[in-house]
Symmetry: C2
Subunit: 187 residues, 2 copies
DNA sequence: CAGTCATTTCAGAATTTTCTGAAAGTTAGG
DNA sequence: CCTAACTTTCAGAAAATTCTGAAATGACTG
């Protein structure tokens, strides 16, 4: 590997974290490399920078494109494919959330739905189904919320996060108002 | 494996999803089994239900306890250790979020902080550092928000999610009010 | 404190995942 | 179409992870 020190440390870290994030070391490193690179890189550049085989880079790029984390970017007068990462970090976050949901949550949601349709044959399954219903309800709320929030543009999303749990304060205020109105009506 | 059909399907699914969730098949299955079980189970119960080795169960339980997803629960007049999962699904969500943050986000945040302290030695590293700063900022907002929200009790958290992106409406309303006040002051 | 029951540890077997080099496939230009 | 540049595929090697059985450890009881 042959990179400036800070870039290298970043790339190595992403390689190490890869397995915890559900990708492999090479994929993590390729992503990190493209992320800090000032210009699109071609496969050979990546081979040189990381010291892994050409075929490994090819597979890694394929996976990253499947995740929508890396985009092909045509460079004029060069036949070779070049690649970059989108540079809006909020967009990256949205992409990551979307893809992880697709891989890690959706399959479970659909299995739960299916199992909740079935008729339990005994007490054990009746209890199991009740537990599944609880889990299903929670995941459902979570994904409904997510479907709502994912549409926010970067700036608004950042604002929402900045607000933090002070949202709760707004909620409380709203509750008070609603309570007040109800009180008046009932009075 | 010897379980009622719905419980079995659930357990098998968790086993399959395990690798995507960063745990192994047995760990996924043990969790699922305890989750749907109407009472705490001991290690031998788990061996019987899942058909894996005793030692594998021991290691799996250890990992699940490290994740705080499974708790030892003493059963009177029984020498053996028994285990359960907490049953509030919102509590489970909080635990999961906390542990995944600890494993998947915190190490990166600390590496980023460290690398941002260093003096870049050339233009490439200067650019790399700028990109890292962008990523750091995004993760920081995210974790600040999370630190806020994780304190909410289950009921309030559910309410927040139920509100969804309508929070944005509140934000807009707030912006309008603030704008109004500013306008008045300036007038 | 010997014996039994329960749990953990750990070395190596089994399995799965990752990575490579060679071969096949694809595309643009002559 | 032929060739050269580039990319992908894929079988098997290498590495990492998961799982097991045997042995060690711990802890309660008579």
């Amino acid at each position: 590997m042959n990179l400036p020190p800070l870039a290298q440390a970043f790339v190595l870290h992403f390689g190490e974290m890869g397995s915890r994030w559900g990708i492999n070391r090479t994929v993590g490193q390729i992503y990190a490399l493209l992320y800090v690179s000032p210009r699109p890189l071609n496969a050979e550049d990546i081979v040189d920078a990381l010291g892994v085989s050409r075929s490994n880079v090819s597979m890694g790029l394929r996976e990253l494109q499947a995740w929508n984390l890396v985009l092909p970017k045509h460079v004029p007068d060069d036949r070779r494919d070049h690649f970059t990462t989108p540079d809006d970090v909020w967009q990256i976050l949205r992409t990551l959330a979307e893809e992880r949901k697709k891989r890690e949550v959706d399959p479970t949601l659909s299995v739960l739905r299916e199992l909740l349709m079935q008729e339990p044959g005994n007490d054990a399954d009746r209890h199991a189904q009740a537990r599944m219903a609880a889990m299903h309800g929670m995941i459902e709320s979570l994904t409904t919320w997510y479907d709502d929030v994912k549409r926010l543009e970067s700036e608004r999303l950042a604002a929402l996060l900045a607000l933090g749990a002070r949202v709760t304060k707004l909620l409380e205020a709203k509750d008070r108002v609603v309570g007040l109105v109800r009180g008046k009506k009932e009075a």
